[in-house]
């Protein structure tokens, strides 16, 4: 091993140590800094080792990119984090594809077969990561409709794209100089198309899965680029990112009881047509309830708050914090129950609540908090539906059957602050809504929370 390889190994170990520190909020800041420091060293190492420190153009690119990255990162609001992550995924993918294109254009004739194949592959993976991410960003930012968009012959087009990409990678590795450039560009165009095709038919609530998958792809693209260039550091770090995205994708799929194939196919579950069944008539019994919302709220000792995407949409996290403070001022015990797929990306709710200074030791994971619901006096659901839908346990044959849920239905009283009583993304009507111990406060979460806070003051 030469000096570069040894340094690469050390930096990779440092990066892994940094990730290891990410397993606790206490050490995570340091872990991230260690990662950033390692990458900084890696850039310097590459510049020195290749004797290109004095190429001004490189520094100009780093400067412009650094300033833009800084501005972007400082200005983005926590609520926009899913879009931000999507955007960065896309840029990483695009950069990898561009590098591979430059390599093929410059030095195709001197490259071995392995480098040729991996370069073409890097273009394909990087290209689809870029366009797929841009579509995802558009959907998350509501510039594109968040429903799945399926066009005529969608599957056939997808298969054609995949077949085309495979053909171009092979052909683009065996032909002569000029033709390889053409094949590289064609691979780029088709993979860009494929990225759009696959992202456009993923629905809004499946976004956590898509974002995780694209995260994995962006790492993979970098790693493949490393294979093409013969750079061990690029290979190793890209592979780590790829593994991370894959783990998160798996966790998200399990938590939503969906297979990756279903998500990519844009199937939203069969029950969308059931929407109307969940009209107002089912819920008219609330009026005869013995206790009022105010009584339930003031009498409860142990309270669990369940936030969902509705809280994010309504920007209600500040009100949630206010509610938490009032409840605790009255001497009540309050915890938060966080479902793994609540929101639009993994861990979305935790970040929003951390932003408004909810201590993280009050944010409980699903498995930890589920046994506590039976002895909980009051659950306040804020903008969540599917993740508290007991049909996942009782109604075999519905799309969410088997999905792990928060057992809100076992609590003594439940207040639901949702926009409406319609089923959630899965389209499965929520039997929880029919329980006699459920109270509804319908409307924008920020307003209904105000009402609750008013009862307590």
């Amino acid at each position: 091993m030469g000096i570069y390889e040894v340094s690469a190994l050390i930096l990779t170990v440092l990066i892994l140590l940094g990730i290891k520190k990410m397993s606790s909020p206490k050490t995570a800041v340091g872990g991230n800094l260690l990662g950033a420091f390692s990458m900084f060293c890696a850039v310097i190492l590459v510049l020195i080792y290749n004797g290109i420190v004095d190429v001004e153009l490189l520094w100009l690119g780093i400067l412009i990119g650094g300033v833009l990255g800084y501005i972007l990162a400082m200005r983005v609001a926590m609520i926009q984090m899913p879009q931000m992550v999507g955007l960065l995924n896309g840029l990483g993918g695009a950069a990898s594809a561009l590098v591979a294109i430059v390599v093929i254009f410059e030095s195709y004739s001197q490259m071995g077969m392995f480098s040729r194949v991996t370069s073409q592959l890097a273009i394909a993976v990087g290209g689809m990561t870029f366009s797929g991410s841009m579509v995802a960003v558009g959907k998350l930012d509501r510039r594109l409709p968040s429903q799945p968009i399926v066009i005529y012959g969608h599957n056939v087009l997808n298969y054609l794209c995949i077949a085309g990409i495979v053909f171009l990678i092979i052909a683009g590795s065996v032909v002569q100089d000029r033709a390889a450039m053409f094949f590289a560009l064609a691979a780029a165009v088709i993979s860009l198309t494929f990225g759009i095709l696959f992202a456009i038919r993923v629905g809004g609530a499946d976004m956590p899965i898509t974002i995780s998958l694209l995260n994995s792809f962006s790492g993979l693209a970098g790693s493949i680029c490393g294979l093409a260039l013969g750079d061990p550091l690029l290979v190793a770090v890209g592979a780590i990112v790829g593994a991370s995205g894959l783990i998160l994708t798996g966790i998200m799929c399990r938590a939503m009881n969906r297979s990756l194939l279903e998500v990519l196919n844009g199937s939203v579950g069969a029950a969308l047509a059931l929407d109307d069944e969940c009209g107002g008539t089912l819920f008219c019994e609330q009026t005869n309830q013995k206790k009022t919302v105010a009584e339930v709220l003031t009498e409860a000792q142990k309270v669990i708050i369940v936030p969902g995407y509705g809280m994010a949409v309504g920007q209600a996290q500040w009100k949630v914090k206010e509610l938490l403070d009032v409840l605790e001022a009255k001497g009540k015990e309050v915890k938060f129950a966080i479902h793994p797929v609540a929101g639009r990306m993994p861990g979305h709710m935790n970040v929003l609540l951390a932003e408004v200074d909810v201590p993280y030791d009050q944010l409980c994971e699903m498995d930890a908090i589920n046994p506590e619901f039976p002895e909980t006096d009051l659950v306040i659901v804020i903008g969540a539906c599917d993740v508290v839908n007991p049909a996942a346990i009782s109604k075999e044959g519905t799309p969410i059957y088997g999905m792990p849920i928060l057992r809100v239905d076992q609590a003594r009283h439940i207040i639901i602050c949702n926009m409406d009583k319609n089923p959630g993304y899965s389209g499965v009507p929520n039997p929880l809504y029919e329980q006699p111990n459920v109270y509804f406060l319908l409307g924008n979460a920020a307003d209904t929370l105000d009402e609750l806070i008013g009862y307590l003051k």
């Binding site: 984090m81 695009a94 030095s107 780590i240 030791d361």
Partner: protein
Amino acid sequence: MSPFTLILIFIIATLAGYKVINEVPSLLHTPLMSGMNALSGVTVLGSLVATASAVAVGNVFLGFLAITLATINLVGGFIVTDRMLRMFKSK
């Protein structure tokens, strides 16, 4: 490096990454993801070398673009992760 060695590195890094990342609690999954995001800007290393050795003007421009995009990815990712992680406070 030989293709065999590179693929070996790929496999080992994937396994090592898998092991370490699996221990990150779901509480921190968003910052984990944006941190990993930053790391995917590692491709900047490739873009630096490719750009420096490129001869044709068009290729230099594409390489320059790659450096810029990868650096946005790298810098933006680390800063945004830092911002998020600093918000997590205990009681």
